[in-house]
Each structure stands twice: as C-alpha cells, then as structure tokens.
C-alpha cells in the first residue's frame, strides 16, 4: 500500500514537471551588416554610399578576373552568410548559376536596366540533337564602363542599402549624390574625348568594351587577345583580315600589353593605349582613380586642339 502510494507520488511529480524550453534571446549583432559583391565596381559603389555603416566584402583574389572566377564552396558559404549580395547582372559571374544562394538576399543591380543589356552576338551555343534546346547566349557584362549605366547600378546599390539600413537613408542619399557627380564628370569627359575620336576605327583587344563603345559611339571591333600573352599566328592573321575592312590606328587594351606586341603593332601603324575595366580591386587607387587614368589616356591619345584645354578634376 505504502509502495503504491509512493509510486503514484513519483509519477505525479514527474508528470507535473514541465520541460521548459528556454528560448535564447538573440542579441542584436554588434557587427555591421555584411554586403558581398561579385566585382570591385559594385564594392566601390557600396563603400562610397554606405561608408563604415556596412562591411563590404569582395573576396575574389586580386589576380583573377571576377567575371570568370569560380569561388570554392567555403567562399560561397561566406556569401550565404551575407546580409546582402550585390550582383552585376548580365550573366556576370557565371559561378552564380552553380551556387546556392538565398534569393531574398540577392540584388541584381542591372534589373532596372535590363533593356540596355547588350547580347554577345559571337557566342557559340550548343544543343543536343537537331531538335534540342540551345544553351544560353551570353550577354556583355562590363556594364560599368558606360558611366550612365554605372550610375544606374549605383542607384540600385543605394536602394538595397537603404532597405538594409533604413535609418541611414539621408546619409546614403548624400553620398550617392556625390558618387553620381563623380560619375557624371567622367561621363562628360568621355563624351568630349569620344567626340574628338569621332568615327575613327578602333580595335579592342578583348570583347569587354561593348558598353563603352555604345555609350560613347566608338567605332570599335574586338579581337580576342590577352595582354600578357604573345598572340600566335592565327590571331595576327585575324587582325590583318580585320584591318582590311576596319583600318584602325589604335588598339585599346584592358591591361598593359607585352612590349613585343606593342612594337609589332606600331610597325603596322597601330598605337596602343590601356583602358582598364577595373573589374577587380586595383593594386593602387580605386575605381574612380582608375577610370580617371583611363579617361586621361584617351585624352592623351586623342588630344584636344590647342585652343581647348582639358578640364582637370
């Protein structure tokens, strides 16, 4: 009897004990929100607009072209942890098609500019069987070389940062306006020098200047040369054939070419100038200083008549 009573008491006590699930209070993170980008221009825009209020991260190694960079899984895991991921759009960063990222944190800075994207007409697609669907045709993606387009991307960056930190909207807006002014000055100088270039045929060393050519009405055709590689016989042959219908006096390079290549081109009557797209973080300076150098290189190559002085920033 006593045993039964004790057993009943034990069971009653056990039944009355509630497991309390203590919810942990999630404390607000002491660190600023993290904003990841897929290229340096977007990182620059985010840094200019948000300053220290966010942590801007562009994790591509300095010696790779972010357009063709393939981050490892651990780096993609870092992107997954970001509060915001800024995308260039236009198919830039092909690794995005193979990565798993939360859609709600992605911002395509070209979404509102989709009608201004330039398809790459020389992309070779493939299909399986005569009736199969084709793989995707590419889009030109160095959109930030069109300063007006770049300003549009900067505004998209601004909108996304305001959604992230709405309390800083006024500050961000003031900074955006400063950035837009700088981009506008670049746009004006490029427009002026482009007018001096006029219809002169140009050759682009690589098909990355589509937006520059369209925005400033440059008469340019592209070859597929790498600045740090000596072109073989076939590339030279292609250039000769191109010059037959497009007698260019200048080749615009995305980076400093080999001296031998420059010499041989000069022998053909083609001068070289460097216009760096600045897809990755430069060793020195920033996006603005690199674009300024680019503009000045064009201005030196196509100087104003003696009666007009170039305006310095």
């Amino acid at each position: 009897m006593k045993l039964l009573a004790m057993l009943a008491c034990v069971v009653l006590v056990a039944a009355c004990t509630q497991d309390k699930q203590v919810s942990e209070d999630t404390e607000a993170s002491p660190y600023p929100p993290r904003v990841y980008t897929v290229n340096y221009p977007l990182a620059y825009f985010a840094e200019r607009i948000a300053g220290d209020s966010v942590q801007v991260v562009f994790p591509a190694p300095p010696d790779v072209d972010p357009a063709v960079w393939s981050p490892v899984a651990e780096t993609i895991a870092d992107y997954q942890q970001a509060d915001l991921v800024l995308l260039n759009g236009a198919g830039y960063a092909g690794w995005l098609q193979r990565a798993t990222l939360s859609r709600s944190r992605l911002v395509d800075t070209s979404a509102a500019l989709a009608d201004r994207l330039i398809p790459m007409n020389d992309t070779v697609t493939h299909s399986h069987g005569p009736g199969g669907d084709h793989s995707h045709q590419g889009m030109a993606f160095t959109s930030w070389l069109d300063m007006e387009y770049a300003a549009g991307q900067a505004r998209a960056v601004f909108d996304s940062l305001v959604r992230l930190r709405p309390e800083n909207e006024l500050d961000y807006r003031a900074r955006l306006q400063e950035l837009e002014k700088d981009l506008s000055k670049l746009d004006t100088r490029l427009t002026v020098v482009a007018e001096r270039i006029g219809d002169q045929p140009l050759v682009f060393s690589h098909p990355v200047f589509q937006y520059l050519a369209r925005a400033y009405e440059l008469n340019g055709r592209s070859v597929h040369w790498e600045p740090h590689e000596a072109p073989g016989d076939d590339p030279w042959r292609e250039l000769f054939e191109l010059l037959g219908t497009h007698d260019a006096g200048w080749m615009i390079w995305e980076d400093e070419p080999l001296p031998d290549t420059v010499s041989r081109l000069e022998g053909m009557g083609i001068e070289s100038l460097v216009f760096r797209p600045c897809g990755n973080r430069p060793a020195e300076g920033n996006f603005l200083s690199v674009m300024l150098d680019n503009v000045m290189a064009l201005e030196r190559a196509f100087p104003a008549p003696a009666s007009i002085e170039a305006t310095e920033m």
Partner: protein, 393 residues
Amino acid sequence: MGDVLFLAWRYLIYHRLKTAILVASIMLIIYLPVGLNVVVEQSAEHLTARAAATPLLVGAKGSPLELALNSLYFSSEHPELIDYSEATMVADSGLADAIPLYVRFRSRTHPIVGTSLDYFSFHDLSFATGRPMALLGECVVGANVADSLGVKPGDAVISSPESVFNLAGVYPLKMKVSGVLTRAFTPDDDAIFVDVKTAWIIEGLGHGHQDLARAEAAAGVLSRSEENIVANASVVQYNEITEDNVGSFHFHGDLADYPLTAVLVVPRNEKSGVILRGRYADDDATSQIVRPVTVIDELLDTILTIQQFIVAAVIIVGLATIATAALVFMLSLRLRRREIDTMLKIGGSRMRVASMLLAEVVIVVILSSSLAAVLTLVTWRFGPGIIESFVLT
C-alpha cells in the same frame, strides 16, 4: 467502517492472483479508450503542427491532399508538376517569399528534396555538422539519413534511378554531403536536401560534359555552324559533380519552364496571403493555392472517425469484460457460501457482510481506476517523446 474495509482488503490480498487479474482487466478497459484518445490527439497535434507552420502551398490543379502530403511529408507519389515561373511570380509579387520544392527523386528510401536555402531557415533547421549546400551536386542530409546510411560531411550519396528499365531516363547522380541536420523529429530527418538545380540535373535537364568547341570533343559533334554546335548522343555526361567539372554544368532552354512539384509560400502578412489566394481563385488558373492545415484537418477528421469506431469496439469489449467480472464475482459468492454463513453465525449482520463484499468490489474498481489514471498521465506526459522516438524515427 474500518473493520469492513480491513476484512475486504485482507480477503483481496489473500486471493492476490484473482485480485490482480480483476484489477488489470478493469484497468485496461478504462485506460484503452482514454489512452488511445490521448495518443491520437497528440499525434494529430504533431501532424498538424507541420501543416499549421506552412502558410500556403502552390501547386498544379488537382488533389490538394496529394500536394500537401508530397510537400510536407515527402510522400512517394508526386503531384502534377508546375513551372519554376510560378515561384518567380510569387516572389516578384512582393506579397510573399517563395520557396521552390521539387520532391520527386529518391536515394534508396530517402526522398530527395530540391529546394532553396530559405527552406532551412523557414523550418528552423540547424546543422549538427557541416554547412548548407553551396555548389551544384552538394546535399544536406537529415539526421535519420546520416544514421541509416552512415554518412557525414565529405561522404557521398547516390540518387536512385526512377526505373530500372528506362535506360534513357533519370540516371544516378553522386552527391557530396556538405552537412547533416540536427534531429528535428519531423519528416526532414529522413530527407536529403539539394539545390533545386541539382534536382534538375538528376532529372537530366542540366548536365556537364566536354567543351564541344574543343578539338578533342570532335567525336561528339553532329554538326557545327557559326552560332551553334549540335552534339550527338555519344557525348558523355558527367554523373558526378566535382570541383574540376562543376564549371561545365549548364542548363538548356528557359529555366522558367523547368519543373517544380510545389512552391511553399510565406506571405508577408495576412492581407498579402488573402490577396495571393484571391489571384488563384480564377477557374481558368492552371495552378492552385492551398492552406495545408485545412487539408490535413480534413484528413484527420477521417482518421478520428475511425478512432471513434475503435473506441466503440473497445467499449463493447469493456462491457463484455465487466459482465465477465460480474460473473466471476457471483461465482465467487457461491464458492464463499460457507464463509458468509460463518460470518453470519458469529454475529455479523447481513448489512455488514454485504458491505464487506461491496467494499471488495469498490477497492478493485478504485485500484483499477487509479492505475488507469496513472497510465493515462504517463501517456500524456511521455507520449510525444514516444511518438517522436518510435513512430517518427
């Protein structure tokens, strides 16, 4: 009164086997319907919790039950398919977040759930080891999958072909485990999670192969023009995605047309949910939107009807048991005739003798009821754990 109870108690203790059988029988009769009710209620609560946590599902028009079961419990039958554009439409509406679901393939008995990262945060799933999938071909496994297959981050699981006899159909894809989920006591424990694009690769909608523009791939080229290269059937497609070949994986056609089994819709607020549901009310719509809790409640109503039949059967059996117990008691009285006569002869009144006999019955009933109550309490307290440990795992 105490002497009556004392005598009754001593009689029951002396005939302890008979007493124990009587107490057990009556206890079971009382406990079975009550305990069953408690278990069914707790099971229903557990089942509906997952449905209640899922605001809305978008799927092809057809059976809402099939849609809910496939999306919430990853049942083997998958509903009609919808296009990925449905998920995009929901997300672009600004009214809700959209989590794509493509639950069609399996790895042995474990469902492969093609979805997005948002699925884990939505269901509050955490990682026991590893991390979420980051690249095509990576997967996250539930706790039960890790236990039954003996896998951990870095190991691999292989998808099962849909049909042994369809050589041209879905072929196995070797997937690298990137993480193992903490046990959640939900169907997620038995599932393998991949990016929805990986699920499309399992189906063969995406693939990787040699670069057909290269000279060494010439044998795989059927025809070539300036804009397009047509591959022939001899092109070997990779059945494992590695760091070396992941760059070659691609999709043909428009991803908006690619298939899903459902879209898990999380409205921003109640008003947004109502607006969204209104958009699917058109009879001409090719897809439907359902509230899973409504669908599961209807299913449980059917199950509870069956429960009522079981309870009715138990009651009938109980009545039979009580009748048998009464018969046992009456037979016992007959056998105790001499004992009763002795008590009367030594001065016990008929009332006291009757009270003693009645006390024996009352004590048995009280004991049985108490034990039944204790068992019911134990079932109520430990039932969820038992359900989770033995039923859900």
